[in-house]
Amino acid sequence: MTASPDQPVVSLSGVGKTFSRGDNETTVALESISLDIAQGEFVSLIGPSGCGKSTLLRVIGDLIQPTAGDVRVNGKPAARARLDRDYGMVFQAPVLFEWRDIAGNVELPLEILGRPAAERKARAREMLDLVDLGGFAGHSPSQLSGGMQQRVAIARALAFEPALLLMDEPFGALDEMTRERMNAEVLRIWERTRTTIVFVTHSIPEAVFLSSRVVVMSARPGRITKVIDIDLPRPRSEDTRESPRYFELVTEVRETLRQRDDGGGPSGVASMTRTMAEGVVG
């Protein structure tokens, strides 16, 4: 089970997911998704609502079972990877337990993994320092702002050093300014920890700014339209957002999202895709 450097962290081949809602009615959420994600990559999944990007994230994380194809994480089936605690998850809501203080929330996965108390405490402190919340260990979640709560959720997800960090629109509920600050924060953490990240988002600028690759998806059925390499130099900073190459890539992602529209997609999706193409849709 030793992961060779060349082995992809995530390997999807022909993955499909069909939801059946009784009465022979079925929804094809995902169809023939094939994608490899290498060690240390930052990959964003972007697409209109209902394109199945969150479903795909959950299929990778073994929270939803695919109805077709094969999902491997570090060369193992996804179910095995989950039992091996290969996943850290961050959701749109911080999902902090209000009966635990901030440090207690970060320690939660370590408790479940049965790590000794001293190690848990040290690790929680280290993680909170990483997300710049070292001074808030004893606070209760409700005392923190939305952005700070989400940083706690990231610290918690990284506490047990998972091989793969799965983030489902983690900054979707934050205002634009906080979101940009959190983007910089996540890049800083990624550069320090070199954790492989799969990141679901609605926001084109966010996807381009963060990612090594952007996976553009289309809706009904959810498919990969195009995978765009983001060759912006690293480390990226606020200046990156003003570079010409950044604008080119934002445009490329936007046009890829629009293509589907011109290609005669279902009319309901068309208007949505156009809204997407205008920029950020929260």
Binding site: R85, M89, S142, S145, G146
Partner: protein, 285 residues
């Protein structure tokens, strides 16, 4: 929690947090002033109005008459003190039995979905039944002279809200919190201990506060249908039939005070056990 408020709480927030302990105590004291004033006004108004309107004592005694009746019958006469003690013991016994049973069934129904499907509609239906009507049967089943029959009446009343609330608290968990636990490959036992039980505690205490009143109602109504004579229910029935309504009022007043104290005790325990909840959501219900 507006994100627009920014990422870093300013020094004002920190100061507010530091000062919170004493601030909360001061606010609690402030909260008590208004109801205390209203209470005194009502009592004084009651006292004066009866004299002015010429209402006779056996229709509605004045507060001073009730206070005198409590004093005269405290240990002698009707014996309010030993009666209150006996009634409270019944209520408390029923409270414990009903709570333990309610919690056990709630855990079972949360654990086995089939049990939940079978039990929850029944529990809801039972909540609509005037259970108090069973009081004479309880006397028959558990012995009219035994305090157990009154305890069981109280227990049945306590059981349903405790069971329904705890089941709700154990099962109505945020879906993303469950996904989080599953992403850690947490066992069912760990999910129960670290998520479901803490989630259920506020529901549990809401039910317990409701149960304090229900337990007293169950005990006193059980006593109406016969049994030992030194209990509040008997004092109420006997003094009323002897037209000694000041004593009836005295017994009701003592029962009311006991009920309030019982409630406040449970509320105090709640504050100790789930301070994270009471501090965030305040004192509701």
């Amino acid at each position: 929690m507006s994100a627009a408020a920014g990422d870093v709480p300013g020094p004002a927030d920190a100061a507010a947090r530091r000062g919170r302990g004493s601030g909360r105590a001061r606010r609690a004291a402030g909260d008590l002033i208004a109801p205390a004033v209203v209470f005194v006004v009502v009592i004084v108004g009651w006292e004066l109005a009866l004299g002015a309107l010429g209402i006779q004592t056996f229709i509605l005694p004045r507060p001073s008459d009730i206070a005198a009746a409590v004093g005269e019958n405290w240990t002698t006469g009707f014996g309010i003190l030993p009666s209150a003690r006996a009634t409270l013991l019944e209520a408390f016994g029923g409270f414990v039995i009903g709570t333990v049973a309610g919690v056990l069934v709630a855990f079972a129904s949360a654990r086995w979905l089939s049990a939940q499907h079978a039990l929850l509609p029944l529990a809801v239906a039972a909540g609509a039944v005037p259970i108090i009507a069973f009081a004479p049967l309880m006397n028959n089943w558990f012995g009219v002279l035994s305090p157990l029959s009154k305890m069981m009446m109280a227990a049945v009343l306590v059981f349903f809200p405790v069971m329904a609330n705890v089941t709700k608290g154990l099962t109505q968990v945020e879906p993303s919190a469950l996904e989080l636990m599953r992403s850690y490959a947490a066992t069912d036992a760990a999910i129960l201990r670290k998520l479901r039980i803490p989630n259920a505690l506020p529901y549990f205490f809401t039910a317990l506060k409701l149960a304090t009143t229900l337990a007293l109602i169950g005990a006193i109504v059980g006593e109406y249908f016969g049994g030992a004579s030194l209990v509040l229910g008997r004092i109420i029935v006997q003094s009323a039939s002897a037209l000694k309504f000041d004593v009836t009022w005295a017994a009701i007043t003592v029962a009311a005070v006991a009920g309030i104290v019982f409630y406040l005790l449970v509320a105090a325990v709640e504050r100790l056990v789930i301070p994270w909840h009471t501090s965030v959501h305040g004192e509701v219900s």
